[in-house]
Structure formats: structure tokens, C-alpha cells
């Protein structure tokens, strides 16, 4: 699998001279399998650049949304293939007890929040609600499970013949745990991440900030490290950075976490444009 990061920021796009190295676009990751199948994880503002990089004769697109917070869907109407006739477009996302996935997306993709509605898009759209079953897309087997984050939110475990990538961009496994990490059986996201070759995980806060943000649904950088240790992954990719952090801030935070925690796995901070081969 080849994993490419098109947006690594959380909450709000934050382009500035201070964020050019890690990037200012919100969540979007492309995963391409050995047979060429591509799936797109979330549709934050980073998906616009991804759309411009795709071939014009693209026939089918799969977008797996973890949830419908704005930083994960804001780029959707700017994704060029959505405006092309003949493109088969599959959007997967969390089920709700009240409205369909299509209806919930239309809350954003309709006036007055946005001038173009879902029915005005040219692509052939299909909506799929999760968790329902193991998804098979091309050479990928994908398991979607609910994880701790406000409003129903999914994490994805993406497996192919030789490797596993886990994507949990918004996640607060430490929520309410008096001791964290806790027992595996009682840890949100454990089954998704267990033994993964690559874990892309929320790293939004510092420990100091977290004291004022408990329940917001995000992890500290150190808790992301601890979650990776608990789940026995081979490589951690911190993701979904607080928009207020500069590149220098993030460099310093990762250095401090590495010095303190001495992880047994490889740690590679996500940044826009980064591509990782997972074998």
C-alpha cells in the first residue's frame, strides 16, 4: 500500500508561512493498493489538491468519511471528479439514527451554507452507511468501527494481502480513564489498531491544553504515543494537528515526546505531501 497525506491539520485549515512544512489543509489521506485501487480517507480541504492530481479518465472513486465534522468534509464540493459525468462515486460514512448520510451531507451542501447542492453534482453518487459489515473495495478489506469522538465517528482498519493501515484521525481513548492506557478490552479503537503496520492517529493537543479540552474528542501527542504502544503497531503517524501549532511547535513537541516515552515503534509525523510505502 502507498499512503499519501494531502491534509494533516485538524479543526480548521491553517495556511501560513509557519505551517508550510507540516501543512495547513485539513484531513485527507489517499491509500493506493498494489493493484491500483485507491481509497480516500476523509474530505477535508486537502482533497482539493488530490482531485487535481487524479487522471481525467478516472472511473470510480471511494471516499471513506470518519464523521461529518466540517474539517473532514469541507473539501468535498471542491473535489474535481465530483463534477465529472460518468464517474462512479461511492461515499461511505457513519450511520445516524435520524437522517441518512446523504441528507446529513446536504445540510452543508445546500444554500445558504453552500451554493451548489448534492443533486447538482455530475458524478454518479452512491452513499453507504457504516458500520454494517466488512467492506471489500478492490484488493482492500476494510473494517469500520465506532470510536470515542463526539457524534458517531468511525475509525478504519484497511487490510490488503501483506499489510494493515489504521486510520483514527479524531479519537479520545483517554476520555474518563482514571489511568491511561487502560485494559485493551476497554480501550476505544484497540481492535482497529492492534498490530497494524501503520497507525494514523489523532495528536491534537499538548498535555497542558488537554486539561481544558477533556471531552472534545481528541488525543494529546503523548496519548497517541501510548495508544500506539498499547496496540503494538509498527509505525505511528501523528495526525490532525491543532491549527494553532507552527512547524517549529510541532518539531519541539515530537522531540519532547520521543525523549520522554522512548517508543518501541517507528514514529513518522504526518505532513502534507508525505508518501509512505507500507509493506
Amino acid at each position: 500500500m502507498k499512503v499519501t497525506f494531502w491534509g494533516t491539520r485538524g479543526s480548521l485549515a491553517s495556511p501560513s508561512p509557519e505551517t508550510v512544512r507540516y501543512g495547513g489543509n485539513t484531513s485527507c489521506v489517499a491509500v493506493v493498493g498494489s493493484e491500483g485501487t485507491m481509497i480516500i480517507l476523509d474530505a477535508g480541504t486537502g482533497i482539493r489538491n488530490l482531485g487535481q492530481s487524479l487522471p481525467a479518465d478516472l472511473k470510480r472513486v471511494h471516499i471513506l468519511l470518519t464523521h461529518l465534522h466540517m474539517d473532514h468534509i469541507q473539501g468535498l464540493p471542491f473535489f474535481a471528479p465530483l463534477r465529472r459525468r460518468g464517474v462512479e462515486f461511492h461515499i461511505w460514512g457513519p450511520a445516524s439514527t435520524t437522517l441518512s448520510l446523504n441528507a446529513r451531507l446536504q445540510k452543508y451542501l445546500s444554500p445558504p451554507l453552500f451554493p451548489v447542492s448534492v443533486r447538482d453534482l455530475s458524478a454518479d453518487l452512491h452513499f453507504h452507511e457504516l458500520p454494517a459489515h466488512l467492506i471489500e473495495i478492490g484488493e482492500f478489506s476494510i473494517n469500520a468501527q465506532l470510536i470515542i469522538h463526539p457524534n458517531p465517528t468511525l475509525g478504519y482498519r484497511i487490510a490488503c494481502a501483506k499489510s494493515v493501515v489504521t486510520y483514527i484521525p479524531d479519537h479520545e481513548p483517554a476520555l474518563s480513564n482514571r489511568v491511561y492506557p487502560f485494559e485493551k478490552e476497554w480501550t476505544s479503537g484497540y481492535d482497529l489498531a492492534k498490530g497494524a503496520d501503520l497507525l494514523i492517529h489523532d495528536a491534537q493537543f499538548t498535555d497542558e491544553e488537554y486539561q481544558y479540552c477533556v471531552g472534545f474528542g481528541h488525543s494529546t501527542i503523548r496519548d497517541a504515543f501510548r495508544f500506539a504502544e498499547l496496540t503494538g503497531v509498527k509505525q505511528l503517524v501523528p495526525f490532525h494537528y491543532n491549527p494553532s501549532y507552527s512547524d517549529d511547535d510541532l518539531d519541539r513537541m515530537f522531540d519532547e515526546a520521543l525523549t520522554e516515552l522512548h517508543p518501541t515503534y517507528k514514529m513518522t509525523p504526518s505532513r502534507e505531501g508525505l508518501s509512505l510505502d507500507v509493506v
Binding site: P94, A95, S96, T97, E129, P131, A132, Q145, L146, I147, I148, P152, L175, S176, N177, R178, K184, E185, W186, T187, S188, G189, Y190, D191
Partner: protein
């Protein structure tokens, strides 16, 4: 052992913070957690009993009615919540594992998660100390 469902994890965390005795079971009826206030009523600690099959917890506390007659498992509120997927309420007596008889009032309800997944049941109970 695989991870519990996310709604069950959140229910346990909530129970750990509440001062009301709470009993949490999985869809099979097996006890998977009770909190510290429940330990005082049941006369034992969760760390000592651990998880318990339904056949054990539904009889180990010897539930009896006001006339001293044993209450069959299928009439216990939590068993009704699990089998009929509806809330249930009852007042009865139990014998804690510390040997003490206690009158308790129990409200139980099924735990239904996103996408209508049946995830087990929760019983909240109170010890009746004055009438």
C-alpha cells in the same frame, strides 16, 4: 479477548463516575462490569468476582420477593430488559455475598447502539434503607 463495543466502553466509564450502583451486562446476559457503589450493595468487589455468566449472577444473590419466595431469573428486571428489549422495574430482596439481606429497587433497560445494534443491558439500583 477482543475490545468491547464503544457504547459499552462509554457506559462503563459513565458508571465509574456515578454514585448510583450500576450493573452492566453483554447481549448474552453475562455480567461485564459493576461499579463501586454496586459493590457495596452486592457485598463483593468487581476485582474479586470479575465477569460472571448470567446463570451465576441471576441466582448468586438469591433474589426473593416480599413474601420470601425466590424470584425466577426471567422475572428479574435486567433479564426482562435483555430478553424483551424493554425497560423494567422491580423492588425485591437480595443476599449480598457478604451475607447481608438488602432490599433494593432496580430499573433496567436494554442498551441499543448506533445502527440499532443490541449491545446488552444496564441495571441501576438503589438500596432501600427506610420505608
Amino acid at each position: 479477548m477482543s475490545q468491547q463495543e464503544i457504547e459499552v466502553i462509554l457506559a462503563r466509564h459513565l458508571a465509574e463516575y456515578l454514585a448510583m450502583p450500576i450493573f452492566l451486562v453483554n447481549p448474552n446476559g453475562d455480567l461485564i462490569f459493576y461499579n463501586e457503589p454496586a459493590e457495596a450493595v452486592l457485598g463483593t468487589r468487581y476485582s474479586e468476582t470479575g465477569a460472571m455468566p448470567a446463570s451465576v449472577w441471576s441466582t448468586i444473590f438469591h433474589p426473593i420477593d416480599h413474601e420470601g419466595k425466590p424470584i425466577p431469573p426471567e422475572e428479574l428486571p435486567l433479564v426482562i430488559a435483555l430478553t424483551q428489549h424493554c425497560p423494567a422495574h422491580k423492588i425485591f430482596w437480595i443476599r449480598g455475598l457478604d451475607g447481608a439481606m438488602r432490599e433494593i429497587e432496580v430499573t433496567a433497560f436494554p442498551l441499543i447502539g448506533q445502527a440499532d445494534r443490541f449491545l446488552g443491558g444496564i441495571a441501576i439500583f438503589w438500596e432501600i434503607t427506610t420505608k
